[in-house]
């Protein structure tokens, strides 16, 4: 194998400087940082630098190596020199490919393996192992594609630009094009595709994750198993197949002297074309925004610059709870609050602004959020809310309720005045709880406080009359979140119903949902929508009711793509109407609408954001439009759907 050795020797002599540079960046730099951290007592790998470098620079490094090894021997008349010798092109291509690949894999994998070894005692290595497995094969694919580009183009700068454009497609097209989602390296990496776990934790998590997991026993450790995601195997097969095809094509291209004649113009148009293509796939996925029919700036007499914190409405009338942080901070306070009535049927929709007295302020900020302010169009001058005060219990260091009242507030004479209060404390069994929700339905006010549901009749004069209190069943929970993943199944959801006279099962279900504290579920008819930041939007359908406990089964789910999450940050369902789920995202995430009429095929069909707006409140309007509150009131037209 004399000629083989000669080829290897030549490749090594040419590529060793890539290895040195790569080692300095990928291995040396994180090592330096790790040593520094260790000396400062922070722990050897207290940051994610090895992963960050691998993710950011792995692809570009692979491109540089691949183009470097190929163009060196193919540009100009060098190709004629060695090709006129008895050098097998297949052997030439394989030697070059493998030597370059070895360099890339060494610099990429060694720092990650080092970190896994050092941190092997810790369990949370899922992400790291995901990068080591999934991203490494992505880099192999990019290296192979760049190898082919170098063989076809033979000019280093243009080959790098061409390879860069292809690498962009490899990384981002699968994220942006939903049918290719399973080929997205990012989607697979975030699922922690390979991880060593305890045998007892072998398969857990949401069913949509568990169904894709497989487990392999580790021979030398009885209590440990290797858990992997079958999507990873599919991805690896795709990457290897692509790489193999690229290498074969490269050898053929060199043998048959295929060349891609490119110039500066073509390269720039190619890069621009790829960028536009990616943009168009973003657009395709996110679809069009909803139309805002009307924007009404909030004008208050005090001119402090208020935003809408909550809306209590009935039809197109209601009360806005306004807050202002900026001016408050400037004046040394935490927050300013104000109440203002509105009537959207009028040309000037805003009514009076009501100052909130100091003794009510705390009650007000406790009620910021959904389902905690109650207002009825029948009694427009009245507002109902719960005031609860806690103190620290010295025996067990937990908060203890020492005041729980339901207040009737009169909105007149420019100040909010408490005209009636009902003390709930005598009826409360467990004083360690909180008010989780309040709602009005069919002239009855329901309050969920400390595990009990209080029901009040709303009289014709607007006065509340205590009717009954029921205890919610122990062990019954009324929400499903990621936090419950380790303790509960997700194929079903249990909801404790509110046994009230004259309410159907679906109405009881609706009231039960309204009374939850976390605004993560919403209901319509016999379905409940649940959503959290990390978990998918899930539809549960009512299956049966037994002993005032409703059992709902999962009917379908939609896991937001990374792009959807990006534009609808931290969404929570607010309400469901006519089979459309309206979710509100915090931190400027805006309003997102999903079509849940067919739970197996949930679709994101609308989105609305506005500049410099953080929407915190939303309410449905009787004409079908949506009222969204931020620094202005936005009346948004819902998306058109085929019925």
């Amino acid at each position: 194998m004399k000629s083989g050795k000669a080829l290897l020797w030549k490749e090594w002599r040419e590529i060793r400087w890539f290895l040195v540079a790569g080692a300095a960046i990928f291995i040396g730099w994180p090592l330096l940082e790790a040593v520094g951290n260790y000396r400062l007592g922070r722990g050897f790998y207290s940051t994610d630098m090895p992963e960050a470098i691998a993710l950011l620079l792995g692809g570009p490094f692979a491109i540089l190596v691949a183009v470097g090894v190929t163009c060196r021997d193919l540009k100009g008349k060098i190709a004629c020199f060695w090709q006129s010798r008895p050098v097998s092109i297949r052997r030439w291509a394989v030697t070059k490919y493998l030597v370059g690949l070895a360099v890339v894999l060494i610099v990429l994998c060694v720092p990650l393996v080092m970190k896994i070894f050092v941190m092997r005692a810790e369990h949370e290595l899922g992400q790291l192992s995901g990068i080591l497995t999934c991203h490494t094969f992505t880099v192999i694919l990019i290296y192979s594609i760049s190898f082919l580009a170098g063989c076809l183009i033979r000019m280093p700068v243009y080959a790098v630009i061409f390879s860069g454009a292809l690498a962009l497609l490899v990384y981002f097209l699968p994220i942006l094009a939903p049918p290719l989602e399973s080929f997205s390296v990012f989607n697979i990496m975030i699922q922690s595709p390979v991880v060593v776990v305890q045998l007892s934790e072998s398969v857990q998590g949401e069913p949509w994750i568990a169904e894709k997991m497989r487990v392999v026993k580790i021979p030398w450790a009885d209590d440990l198993v290797l858990r992997y995601n079958i999507d990873l195997l599919r991805y690896i097969a795709f990457a290897l197949a692509g790489s193999f095809a690229a290498v074969v094509l490269s050898a053929v291209a060199v043998k048959r002297n295929w060349r891609l004649k490119v110039g500066q113009k073509l390269m720039f148009w190619l890069l621009g074309g790829v960028a536009m293509f990616l943009l168009l796939t973003v657009v395709f996925q996110l679809r069009s925004n909803l139309t805002c029919i009307r924007q009404i700036p909030i004008k208050t007499a005090s001119e402090k610059g208020f935003d809408v914190a909550a809306i209590a409405s009935d039809g197109d009338k209601g009360v806005l709870l306004l807050h202002c942080r900026k001016t408050a901070y400037a004046e040394g306070k935490a927050m300013y609050y104000s109440l203002m009535t509105f009537d959207l049927s009028l040309k000037e929709p805003f009514g009076e602004e009501f100052v909130i007295p100091e003794d009510l302020e705390k009650a007000v900020w406790q009620n910021v959020g959904r389902s905690k302010l109650v207002w009825s169009a029948k009694h427009p001058q009245l507002l109902y809310m719960v005031r609860e005060l806690h103190s620290q219990d010295k025996t067990d260091d937990k908060s203890k309720l020492n005041c729980a009242e339901i207040l009737t507030i009169s909105l007149s004479d420019s100040e909010a005045v408490v005209t009636d209060k009902i003390d709930l404390l005598p009826h409360i069994e467990n004083r360690k709880g909180y008010c989780n929700g309040m709602c009005i339905y069919k002239d009855r006010v329901f309050v969920n406080l400390s595990g009990q549901v209080f029901i009040f009749d709303l009289g014709a004069d607007g006065k509340l009359t205590f009717k009954s209190v029921t205890k919610r069943q122990v062990g019954v929970y009324d929400k499903v979140t990621r936090r419950d993943a380790s303790r509960h199944t997700f194929a079903t959801m249990l909801v404790g119903l509110i046994p009230a006279e004259g309410l159907t099962t679906e109405e009881q279900l609706k009231v039960a949902v309204e009374l939850t504290d976390y605004p993560e579920i919403a209901s319509e008819g016999d379905i409940i929508i649940g959503m959290d930041y990390d978990s998918p939007l899930t539809v549960y359908r009512l299956k049966e009711v037994r002993d005032d406990v409703a059992t709902l089964e999962m009917a379908g789910y939609h896991r937001p793509t990374p792009l959807e999450r990006f534009t609808g940050m931290f969404p929570t369902p607010v309400f469901v109407r006519d089979g459309l789920a309206y979710t509100l995202g915090g931190f400027g995430g805006g309003l997102t609408v999903y079509d849940v009429r067919q739970p197996q095929y949930i679709k994101r069909i609308g989105h609305y954001v506005a500049p410099d707006e953080m929407f915190l409140a939303i309410a449905p309007l009787p004409d079908g439009n949506i009222l969204v509150g931020g620094s202005k009131l936005h009346i948004v037209r819902p998306p058109k759907v085929k019925r």
């Binding site: 004399k2 000629s3 050795k5 000669a6 020797w9 030549k10 002599r13 040419e14 100009g76 008349k77 060098i78 004629c80 020199f81 090709q83 006129s84 010798r85 008895p86 050098v87 097998s88 048959r256 002297n257």
Partner: protein
């Protein structure tokens, strides 16, 4: 009869839509020095690349040393020495390194012979290839072409870019090393006055076909320039083999191939002019007549 060292039959090749070779037929006798001539862009390098299996012809066949140049590519390259036009090599390698590296691909590499060549060609072993002068670069390329003692050596314009002294030196090496060893040298060059003294045979490639192939001496003897003087229309077109007709003051110069007594009388009769002189031509002039001659247009006195 000995099989020719190189045999080309009906060779065709196109770069895209442009047909460069349109049926080239050529035989290179074994042991000869063969000059392969042609203007720029005529297809000389293309023909050579096809011989080495670097390009695939559209039609036709090539045999080199009895081997099919398309089917037995590796065998051809092992048995043939090749020096490309303005050959580029791996600049980072030292002379000694590139010799050893190239040698590892040839089973018949004669390292002792190569070491002698290194001394003969005055090549510095430790110098990097990129630091060699043009002359040294050419000599190194020649050494790499000869190190495995091939029976056929192909030199594609080997003296391109060399100054006159370097060219003379190079040719001296070539002739000295190869002429006496029965090696077939296939030599392509633009500098015809350099080929002329050394080439046994020449072939002229023009417009994709071989327009003339013959022994050098025979070619020189058979192609003459006739000077005519007389009055009236001169129309020497009735005589075959006229390559060029040109006016030179009061004379007409007719360059004609396969010149003999019969053609002389025919010219005199046809032109009704007197032949005042017969001039021997060098290879350069012969080449010019074949390539750009007007083939006897009507010339008025």
């Amino acid at each position: 009869m000995n099989e020719p060292a190189i045999k080309i039959e009906g060779l065709r090749f196109s770069y895209g839509r442009e047909e460069v070779l349109r049926g080239v037929d050529l035989e290179v006798p074994a042991g000869s020095i063969f000059g392969f001539l042609g203007p720029n862009g005529s297809g000389k390098t293309t023909t050579i690349k096809i011989l080495l299996g670097l390009l695939k012809p559209g039609a036709g066949a090539c045999r080199i040393g009895g081997l099919d140049s398309q089917k037995d590519v590796m065998a051809v390259r092992r048995s043939v020495g090749y020096m490309a036009e303005d050959q580029q090599m791996f600049g980072w390698m030292r002379v000694g390194q590139i010799i050893r590296w190239v040698g590892s691909f040839y089973p018949g590499w004669d390292q002792k012979f190569v070491e002698e060549l290194v001394d003969l060609l005055e090549l510095p072993s430790d110098a990097r290839v990129k630091n060699l002068s043009k002359g040294q670069n050419s000599r190194l390329a020649l050494l790499l072409a000869l190190g495995h003692r091939p029976k056929i050596v192909i030199l594609d314009d080997p003296t391109l870019g060399l100054d006159p002294i370097a060219r003379k030196d190079f040719l001296r090496y070539v002739i000295g090393l190869l002429q006496s060893n029965g090696v077939t040298v296939f030599f392509s060059s633009h500098l015809l006055y350099e080929i002329e003294p050394v080439a046994d045979y020449v072939a002229i490639l023009n417009d994709g076909v071989i327009i003339k192939a013959a022994k050098t001496d025979e070619l020189r003897q058979s192609v003459k320039k006739i000077l005519l003087r007389g009055a009236g229309d001169i129309e020497p077109g009735g005589v075959g083999g006229i390559l060029d007709v040109a006016r030179m003051r009061e004379s007409i110069a007719v360059t004609i191939e396969d010149y003999n007594q019969m053609k002389r009388e025919a010219i005199e009769k046809t032109s009704r002019c007197a032949i005042v002189d017969e001039v021997d031509l060098n290879l350069d002039e012969i080449f010019e007549a074949y390539v750009i001659g007007n083939r006897g247009q009507k010339v008025k006195v």
